[in-house]
Amino acid sequence: MASNNQAAAVYATLKEEAEQNRGKLFEKPLILIGAATCGRAAGALKLVEEINNELSRLQLEANVVEVGCMGHCYAEPIMVIYNEGFPPIAYGNVNEGVGARIVRDYLTDGDPGYEFALVALEPNDFFPTYSDFPRGIHENKIVLDQCGFIDPQNIEHYIATGGYSALVKVLEADPGEIIKTVKASGLRGRGGAGFPTGLKWETCSNAGGTPKYLICNADEGDPGAFMDRTILESTPHSLLEGMIIAGRAVGSEKGYIYIRAEYPLAVERVNQAVQQAHEKGLLGENILGTGFSFNIEIFQGSGAFVCGEETALIASMEGRAGIPTHKPPFPADAGLWGKPTVINNVKSFSYVPHIINNGADWFKSIGTEKNPGTAIFALAGKIENTGLVEVPMSTTLNELIFEVGSGIAGGKQFKAVQIGGPSGGCLPESALETPIDFDSLTEAGAMMGSGGMVVLDEDDCMVEIARYFLDFTQKESCGKCTFCRLGTKHMLDILERITKGHGKPEDIELLMEMAARVKEGSLCNLGKTAPNPVLSTIKHFRDEYEAHINEGRCPSLMCKDLIAYYILPDKCERSCDACLGSCPVEAIFSNEDRIKVIDQEKCVKCDSCKVACPPQYEAIVKLSPPSEVAAREQGEGVK
């Protein structure tokens, strides 16, 4: 126990230092700017520059820190200001001009600029906090708690807020106890399948063969999912801490983080975190003087969705094409280089420090018995408040979409929600009361997946979304096994002909038959789940398939081959040339009455004219099937 005391003492010193250093930031006004990839795409780096310029122009003293993502992506770029006399305030949609103005008014005149404020971060008498909104009521942030509030490039921020204390706790504990706690917590792997994490660790721990390896699967490839990216970019140390604890638990001294190539900023942040953890003695040889050693290396993916499958991931780490192999053996018995290997998702590892600190019972008190803890979802698509949310398991889809996400954008009608990416399915309105957990979603015909959720509205064609996902899995299929390589290809060809208006009445049955075989016959889960988007859309939206096949009509006016753009002659303002100017292919001309007409032969259906047409006219519509245009023109006497 002496060494444990020693580790605790070393940690106490680290923490004190970190608290002091972080505390210094608050001695001046502190400005946080969300600069994860999403923030950057919205112009966060320009905002940082502008704010620094403004500060030096006004000769104001303040600390500006780039942080990760708070999850409120709909309001990017986001800025938070801590200034004495007021609660910390988060501002949304802060462009450079607004940012400079807030800083100027707030730091010189004491006007916090409530008109730009999203929310206050602490209870106060001036301004609502998160808990005053439905989102704040439903959210229960565990893993995301510090995202967007601490500097991901500075380990001291993590330590100052209690980071690495769980590691200190387990360093001298019996590894079996760690596994016992994780097992008791009921934590299920957040990579998609929901396999019990503790059981996986136990299998690996018991497996013969050394060395043992740990791999964090950060190959977040589901289109529409960005939870792992946000965690890696916003709080990379929580992942590292979880991995070191897992290493201690299963008896591994070597961990890898497999990050996909499309996440360069995440790679940078994690590399930095690894280096800083080394410098503090929290990673590497003889951690905190306890004799336990653990190293982490980063392996970058090369762009192959199938590498999210664990045997394919291992193949790619071993220098081969990412091609899955038959299981068993499972990686926990024979994984990387044939050695016992634990593979967990970013989120799964990130829960671990919290479970160690707060206990298995605490974790089980959140969510449901079989699905304890929280679910982290990336909300995207036609939803008002896109972003990243963390809610207790068993929250319903309805609550998530209409309360947390504030419903459908633009006053449109909800049609479906796509959950679980290419492995998942589309659930209709009637399924909105489904609670979010591994089992209920699978039962409803979707899948938890890794947590991507794309909301679809009345303008989204369900055949097209099925085609999109099949196109994705077909392109990402490794091509090894017959069913996935050829089955998805045939299914895609059928869906393509349906969206082009060449579907045949028997196509729906053929799709269903093929889907059943591909599910049953494929080697790995990519193939086994690839038909889900097709099956779920046929099940819930068969009428849309039938409209395409039988009438050559796309009810959502989305499938390009089945629609045409048409200018309503009685709505066209005539003297306005907005559409004409916007057309990239000169397909719009003025007729002798100066009414604008579209040359259907030339039109590339790019939607530019419809966007350009001033909203007070709304003269441009989409028609389906395209033959409607001729009928209308005749009826309305357009020349």
Binding site: A41, Y263, S302, S316, A380, Y468, P584
Partner: protein, 175 residues
């Protein structure tokens, strides 16, 4: 595509330089290829042969790896790499329309490079900026909420940058 003698020489030298670091454990294969691609922008056959010899594996195995993963290119990219995000959110918000706008403007198809090697056009798997859909990654910069008009705008700003650079270069030469 045929490489010039100079391109071949650079490719071989760069690859050998990279190979002087790691040992021949096969786990180093993909990181090595990634470094080659990072330095050269692509992985030409001569580089693959050097790599195969280093790892003592058949050259076709390196070729198999290169042609398996999306990230690797066999031909040099354009000076400006335009990557269109094909994630779900981007797709539902019209990524295809954006792709066609680039194709129309650059007069190339996805996967191709313009003749002057100024631009190459690619599709890229979800970059995780779904809330900014549709998204285009130009070189390393993520641009959100793209419309066909913004495609024109981005192209225009490249032209402008190029002209300015040329003008500055001209002045420099004049001095």
């Amino acid at each position: 595509m045929k490489l010039t003698a100079e391109e071949t020489r650079v490719a071989v030298d760069t690859t050998r330089d990279i190979l002087s670091g790691p040992n021949d454990s096969r786990g180093n294969l993909i990181p090595v290829l990634q470094q080659v691609q990072k330095k050269l922008g692509y992985v030409p056959p001569v580089a693959m042969q050097e790599v195969a010899a280093h790892f003592n594996i058949p050259a076709v195995d390196v070729y198999g790896v290169i042609t398996f993963y999306n990230q690797f290119r066999l031909t040099p990219p354009g000076k400006n790499q335009i990557k269109i995000c094909m994630g779900t959110a981007c797709h539902m918000r019209g990524a295809n329309i954006i792709q066609e706008a680039w194709e129309r403007r650059l007069k190339i198809k996805v996967g191709e490079t313009t003749e002057d090697r100024e631009f190459s056009l690619e599709r890229v798997a979800c970059v995780g900026c779904c809330t900014m859909a549709p998204v285009v990654v130009n070189n390393e910069e993520v641009n959100g909420k793209i419309t066909p008009t913004r495609v024109d705008g981005l192209l225009f700003s490249y032209e402008l940058d190029k002209k300015n650079a040329a003008a500055e270069g001209g002045e420099d030469n004049g001095q």
